[in-house]
Amino acid sequence: MTRGLVAAYRELDALIDAIEALQHRKFTRFTVYTPTPRHEIDHALKPPTSKIRLFTLIGGLCGVTFGYWIAIWTSDYWPMVVGGKAIASWIPYTIIGFEVMVLVGALSTVYGMFILSRVPKITQTIGFDPRFTGGDFGIYVETTPERLKEAEDALREAGAVEVTNER
């Protein structure tokens, strides 16, 4: 059974300090909120690179395969010559292949983003404060009840304007 704290910060450097403080105190399970992506935060968190590229690759490959397949298969299914061109003529079919690759690739990329970043989310309330979409930065720390105090201190030291208890 874990408890959570939500801390709000008005300044970027305060947030960075808080992150560093939590890391220093070996807190691992915390989420950072920021109105806009900042490199300073990445710098502080050093997160792993996103897995999204896999979705893109697989989607793209499926797409291009399907594109070529549908064109070639239908041509051979009922062979009709037009303009003295080969019945299954791969050269123009490259366009079909390409377009379908882009379509499927792009859609699967978006799909990947949804999967990885867990949107669509059902509820926004837990561990979140509306002001994080406005001007403020924030941290949501999940921890055991006994370390709750320690976490709160760390957050406040770093200059949290407000720290609230979740649940």
């Binding site: 009922w78 009709m80 669509p120 059902i122």
Partner: protein, 212 residues
Amino acid sequence: MSQRRSWALASGFFAIAVAALGLSAYSGASSSQGYAPPQPVNFPHPRHVKQLGMNCLYCHYTANRSPDPGLPAVGTCMGCHQVVRGPRQAIQGIADRDTAALNQLLSYAKGTSDQWKPIPWIRIHKLPEYVHFPHFRHVNAGVTCQTCHGPVPEMQRVYQYASLNMGWCVNCHVKGYKLADGLLAAGDTAGARAAANVEPKKARYDCSVCHF
């Protein structure tokens, strides 16, 4: 929660709709297979073909000579029914005449032959005007009537047996017509057995063979 369910529902409906569309398009749901309108004269095919063993070509007399199969003129009917008319008892297990149908016929054939009126049959098997289907070419190729028109000898009221969709035509043209199947459909089991290993007869499937 509710959101997720409603989303699932929405996308589910969408998927079903798309599938249905695809299926209907594929199955040719737009065909009028099974169309069986009442005819001005309720002509009993079973009586004539099955019991009396008349040949299709007796009435549909140009099916082997012309693109049009031909319809019996009133004169053709009256050829027999000048004599064969009115009620009579069942004999030799052949049921009583269908006097109702007979009277329908006679209502068109009152008086002398120059006073007769043609029978306005309701068309059932209808290909669009841009398709050219030469009956005689198919009949001469040995395709039995029942292959396309179904068990007409069994039909008290004729209905459209096949879908008459393009895919239906093309399948036979490409895969070929199996004489055995045709004969079987025509009820000639012996012939079917004999023709068991006759090569399927293919036909040209170029568009300009039927569309021009």
